[in-house]
């Protein structure tokens, strides 16, 4: 017989759709995510969105640890989905939020996560209009899993797509790579080390809409999350059938991130980012795009890192190394492991 205080931790009953679910929604979820659409608590949210061009996305968040330097699973869940809408050229208007919580999860911790979700959504100007909560046995969800789905409205004139990418287009990234992934790794139990590393988790909606409003040469954008810059560039290469050439010396990387990766044997190009986007832009607009990024808090270290080139045999991503050599950037396997070799 459990002697836990009833209102201290999540119980399986909190996901049962009855009294406890109701209590959870009214006492913990609604106060953090205040908006009219959500307050109706309908089975579906009623939105007034006049548009015939919408973007729609979803993502799940299973990060461990839940809290890390620079953010938490809640901030990630909002920014990650907002960024997917932003890179597609849309303004985020509404998010759905699904929580899967373990039996025994501390409600105080849940409150912190919900507060972060609410705060970030508020700052970005997007509402969480509908959601769901389920509970599972202890151990089945690493504490908590979150899914967010998002709807965005196409920004006027913005229609990025990989079919627009052409030889000669420049590739821009808005700042340093590897910060988020290496921060998470540094705080994982198996590899814990003290550092000043900080996740770059942030919403790119503002910066991207500024770019789309003030320039007309943006062909395609993607945020290099799992698999890092290496995965994103390989995806672009595969989808367009064109090849990519980047320069190692032009890629912004914090020395502390590089050193941490070197110590553990990781390749920074394959490490996740949560506040970065890769933009493929026309050569004429590259300088303007760069300037806009650099004048924004989230783009101070932006740089042109390479360009799109003709494919010779098969679409490839090639990097010119800092010693002037050339090598191929492979699609990462999907699970980066520390090495001693």
């Amino acid at each position: 017989m459990s002697n836990r205080k009833k209102n201290d931790r999540i119980l399986l009953a909190h996901g049962g759709g009855g009294q406890l679910t109701d209590e959870l929604i009214r006492r913990h979820i609604l106060p953090n995510l205040k908006n009219d659409a959500l307050a109706e608590l309908g089975d579906s949210a009623r939105l007034n969105v006049a548009s015939n061009s919408l973007c729609f996305t979803t993502d799940s968040y299973v990060v461990k640890p839940l809290f890390f330097n620079g953010g938490d699973i809640g901030k990630l869940a909002v920014c990650g989905t907002v960024n997917d809408l932003a890179v597609a050229g849309s303004r985020p208007v509404a998010l759905a939020l699904s929580l899967i919580i373990e039996d025994g999860f501390e409600i105080e911790v849940l409150d912190k996560i919900l507060a972060n979700i609410g705060e970030n959504a508020n700052q970005i100007g997007v509402d969480i209009v509908t959601g769901d909560t389920k509970t599972v046995e202890t151990g089945a969800a690493d504490g908590i899993f979150i899914n967010t789905a998002g709807i965005g409205v196409r920004l006027t004139g913005a229609d990025p797509g990989f079919e627009k990418v052409a030889v000669g287009d420049k590739i821009i990234i808005n700042g340093t790579i590897g910060d988020h992934g290496m921060t998470i790794i540094s705080q994982r139990e198996e590899m814990k080390f003290q550092s000043q590393l900080k996740s770059d988790c942030a919403s790119l909606a503002g910066l991207i809409s500024e770019l789309l409003e003030n320039t007309s040469g943006i062909k395609f954008m993607r945020d290099p999350t799992r698999g890092g810059l290496a995965a994103t560039l390989n995806e672009i290469s595969r989808s367009t059938g064109l090849s990519v050439e980047i320069s190692e010396t032009d890629i912004p990387i914090r020395p502390a991130v590089q050193a941490a990766a070197d110590m553990l044997g990781f390749d920074v190009l394959t490490i996740a980012n949560e506040g970065k986007f890769v933009a493929i832009v026309s050569p004429e607009s590259a300088d303007d795009c760069l300037n806009i990024c650099r004048n924004n808090k989230l783009g101070k270290e932006a740089n042109i890192i390479g360009e799109v080139i003709e494919t010779i045999d098969v679409p490839l991503v090639e990097i010119e190394t800092r010693i002037g050599g050339k090598r191929i950037v492979q699609m990462p396997y999907g699970r980066e492991l520390p090495r001693i070799c």
Partner: protein, 80 residues
């Protein structure tokens, strides 16, 4: 079979050390390098210091060493 990077010993208690590589602090043992002292630059492999690093020689070949020194200078300036 040899991934190892230079790091500076910033704490040492017996053969248990904390080494610093650009602000990242890792545990390392100096069991295989009994002559290692606080402040030494050492090569760390799989959690063990395996060799002292000659700083002058290292500066000639390791970009990271120069950056370490710049980094430490900046840190010192910041902390006054």
């Amino acid at each position: 079979m040899c991934l190892a990077i230079p790091a500076r010993i910033i704490e040492l208690d017996g053969d248990k050390a904390i080494v610093d590589a650009m602000g990242n602090r890792f545990k390392a043992k100096t069991t295989l390098l009994p002559e290692a002292k606080l402040g030494d630059l050492v090569l760390v492999h799989a959690g063990f210091a395996i060799s002292l690093v000659d700083e002058q020689e290292a500066k000639k070949t390791w970009q990271l060493i120069e950056e370490i020194n710049d980094f430490m200078d900046t840190q010192n300036r910041i902390s006054g």
